[in-house]
């Protein structure tokens, strides 16, 4: 454990990622203190440029403060990004493990099931799910999770299949360890690296799907989100770039931070690197 933390902190990527992610989280926490007013409130003149009328990052088409929206939106975007990725990982890794390790008929059934989900355009399915379940933060997380797992499941399956054939796994089976223990302790840790990387990209995708949903008016009406802000500013991007650029930058930074953390975590979990 000590080795893992030490390696993580020795990677510049890990430190930068952690600091960025920390800043975003800090923003989410201190939002009500910095901008006590609701981000939906029209506090200024519409189309104010950044710095005008006392608004740091300008105002949107209805005169809402962009800076306030970004700070408040951090909560929703991070929550949705992480929670829906976690949901997708749970489903994807579980199904991928079962189908990759069991093989045969079980594998065939799970792969066909995955393919059904893959043939439906994921964004359409997400819209459908949210529309049926009525938009709220919970249903949005669930819907995004439900449409994001198939690639993770396929990746996990492929990884598990190759690792399961390696001799140390057979050796573990010959040691009399139970199937669950073989999979959880030997197969998964050796298959996890690309899954971690794919997972950190899924966070980015989830934030973007949420943006799309909010743009369609299917976001949670109680929470401001970065996606909603981009969506509403997109139509006037030629006249008022700041309305979509600042929330876009926020998404970019968050995604980069999560990717960096994922990369460093991957190195830290590999004893070949962490012990070198």
């Amino acid at each position: 454990m000590k080795d893992i933390i030490r390696t993580f902190l020795r990677r510049p990527a890990g430190i930068v990622g952690l600091v960025l992610l920390g800043l975003v989280c800090l923003m989410a926490v201190v939002a009500p203190l910095v901008y006590p007013a609701s981000p939906w409130e029209m506090t200024g003149i519409p189309f104010s440029r950044p710095g005008e009328n006392g608004m740091l990052l300008g105002a949107d088409t209805l005169g809402r403060d962009i800076a306030s929206g970004i700070v408040h939106g951090a909560r929703v975007s991070i929550l949705i990004g992480l929670a829906s990725t976690l949901t997708a990982l749970c489903i994807g890794v579980l199904l991928g493990c079962i189908s990759g390790y069991a093989g045969g008929a079980v594998d065939a059934v799970i792969v066909r099931f995955t393919e059904i989900f893959q043939t439906i355009p994921s964004f359409v399915l997400a819209i459908l799910l949210v529309a049926i379940l009525t938009p709220s933060i919970g249903t949005i997380i669930l819907a995004i999770g439900l449409v994001s797992w198939p690639p993770l499941s396929r990746l996990t399956r492929a990884q598990v299949r190759t690792v399961a054939q390696r001799e140390f796994v057979q050796a573990a089976r010959c040691q009399g360890q139970s199937t669950l223990s073989v999979v959880v302790r030997h197969v998964l840790p050796n298959a996890i690296s690309p899954i971690i990387v794919a997972g950190s990209l899924t966070v980015a995708a989830a934030i973007l799907i949420e943006a799309g949903l909010s743009f369609m008016g299917l976001g949670d009406p109680n929470y401001m989100s970065w996606g909603y802000m981009i969506g509403s500013g997109r139509t006037v991007i030629r006249q008022a770039w700041w309305m979509s650029v600042f929330p876009g930058l926020a998404i970019l930074l968050t995604v980069v931070a999560i990717n960096l953390v994922g990369e460093a975590l991957n190195d830290a979990l590999n004893p070949r690197i962490s012990r070198a």
């Binding site: 140390f168 057979q170 050796a171 089976r173 009399g176 360890q177 223990s181 590999n270 070949r272």
Partner: protein
């Protein structure tokens, strides 16, 4: 014979910081004359491959030549520009690699790859001439039906055929110096014999200089004019092959010679104990279907296999790759399910065992795999890997740790190995760890699936020694699977020879070596490298 083709003078190759030593090669000087075969012998890590790669300018990025010179007919290769080096590679100097499978491009036809080698160095050659040359080369390296084979893809060729294609490619531009980096290590004994003969005869015909790299003294005895023994990047001994092998001056050379397995007396004792493992009429056929409409490919891995392992005996199963011997080991443990037949362990049918019975059976029958790099979980500490076996059978962690410590000490590693990761150990050490892991479960039967095949000869000898000791101490029965008759001779009481999934011959070890009945067994015996040399050495030893 007198013309010096290649002269390496005081070559020093520096390793990056943090490597186990500062110099991969530390002041090596050697010469290769035209029309002779010089063998570079040494264990892994002795710097023999690095030396070869330095000649062709193929060193890894972090390894740098710090000192010395490599002269080909007087020109220092270390001073050449990349462009000049490219002209030399595959032109005047050619190389054959160890793995014929990975050294060929899987997506290009064999003939086209050889043709490319010709065209690279002679862009003006017309297509018909190149084609004729390819056919001629294929004929020279003994490939039957050159026209068909030059249109074949690498996966359609056998290992030996691929290595012949590699040799054809190396010879394409009439090189003056051929570097062969363990060209037969990945091949079966009978194929190895053919390739060695081929290299020898081509060398004589063309008057090439050959630098032949190997770890197997048997091969050296068969092929070398001169020998250079390397250790830790330094030359230990060099001289004409006959001299070095028959009257080695250095202890290390003697050690290498003595480590070659299969020279001691054959074990005569075969117990009359009750059978522990009985295999009856075992059948297994693998069918792979390339596409929905293609006829499935059938590979027979086991056809009517019958054999018996008595308590306290060692039964060696010998065969070339593809003979089904590893599948047999996996079927015994039910890692692969057989199609038919019966496996009886202590009288109980293994095929019919339920989950718990199978678990108990696997505890008593442990396996040591071939590849010590693949058979340890790279993400687990050694101690953890060993401890999990006993813990799966209810031993508390503290007791399991004590067991692990005891076994690590017994196999010669010491308790400090517990907290380290597999990549921190050498191949031989890892194989010891695998043995410790198997024995920690207190088995009565040990299956060794090519357990020493991936190791250097000297390490091999020590691991075999360890296995023999442990067997005597614990009264283990052993099923020993190997492609190497020399190893089988060292350890087995009884030997089974397999070919294409069938048992060709089955006899007590002494009988098999003295009076082999099957043709195939005789062929295998004749193919053993260095056979004549060691036989004469033994006679000489007996006479003294």
């Amino acid at each position: 014979m007198t013309e010096t083709l290649l002269a390496i003078e005081n070559l020093v190759l520096g390793l990056p910081d943090g490597a186990d030593r500062a110099h991969a090669v530390d002041g090596i000087s050697l010469t290769v004359n035209a029309n002779e075969i010089v063998c570079l012998v040494g264990e892994s890590g002795s710097g023999k491959s690095m030396t070869a790669h330095a000649i062709l300018g193929l060193l890894p990025n972090k390894v740098k030549a710090l000192n010395g010179a490599i002269r080909l007919s007087g020109r220092d290769l270390l001073q050449l520009s990349p462009r000049e080096m490219r002209a030399l590679r595959g032109g005047e100097i050619a190389m054959i690699f160890q793995e014929p499978l990975t050294a060929l491009n899987p997506l290009a036809r064999a003939g086209a790859q050889v043709a490319e080698a010709i065209r690279t160095h002679d862009p003006s050659a017309n297509a018909a001439a190149v084609d004729g040359r390819v056919q001629e080369l294929f004929g020279q390296v003994g490939l039957p039906d050159p026209a068909t084979l030059s249109a074949a893809y690498p996966f359609q060729l056998s290992g030996g055929q691929r290595q012949r294609v590699m040799i054809a490619m190396a010879l394409a531009n009439n090189p003056r110096l051929l570097i062969a980096d363990e060209p037969t290590t990945a091949l079966d004994v009978t194929t190895q014999r053919q390739i060695l003969d081929l290299i020898r005869s081509l060398q004589e015909k063309r008057g090439m200089g050959v630098l032949f790299i190997t770890h197997d003294i048997g091969v050296v005895a068969d092929i070398a004019d001169r020998v250079i023994v390397l250790r830790h990047g330094r030359v230990v001994e060099e001289g004409p092959a006959a001299e070095v092998l028959s009257a080695p001056r250095e202890d290390y050379t003697r050690e290498l010679l003595d480590a070659v397995p299969g020279r001691g007396a054959v074990r005569k004792a075969e117990s009359r104990e009750a059978p522990l493992l009985e295999i009856k009429n075992l059948q297994k056929v693998f069918t792979t279907r390339q596409s929905f409409f293609a006829t499935p490919r059938r590979v027979v891995a086991a056809e009517n296999i019958n054999l018996v392992l008595n308590r306290g005996d060692t039964l060696a199963v010998v065969g070339e790759s593809g003979s089904g011997k590893s599948t047999l080991a996996r079927m015994v443990l039910r890692l692969i399910e057989p199609d038919g037949g019966e496996i009886l362990f202590d009288g109980a049918p293994v095929n019919a065992m339920g989950r718990e019975a199978l678990r108990q059976f696997r505890r008593r029958t442990q396996i040591v795999f071939q590849d010590p790099y693949a058979s340890l979980d790279p993400r687990l500490k050694i101690g953890e890997s060993i401890v999990r076996g006993p813990m799966a059978f209810g031993t508390p962690r503290s007791d399991a740790e004590a067991i692990a410590k005891r076994w690590l000490e017994r196999v010669g590693l010491g308790a400090h190995a517990l907290d380290r990761f597999p990549h921190e150990f050498s191949g031989g050490q890892r194989q010891r760890i695998c043995i410790a892991r198997a024995l920690a479960l207190d088995p009565i039967c040990l299956i060794a699936d090519e357990a020493v095949s991936a190791l250097d000869v000297s390490v091999q000898a020590r691991v075999l020694q360890l296995l023999a000791e442990l067997k005597a101490e614990m009264g283990l029965s052993m099923l020993f699977i190997t492609h190497d008759l020399r190893v089988a001779r060292e350890i087995a009481d009884r030997i089974v020879v397999m070919q294409h999934g069938r048992i060709v011959e089955q006899a007590p070890a002494a009988e098999l070596f003295d009076t082999p009945r099957a043709d195939y067994t005789r062929r295998l015996l004749q193919a053993v490298p260095g056979r004549e040399f060691f036989a004469s050495r033994e006679r000489a030893g007996a006479a003294v």
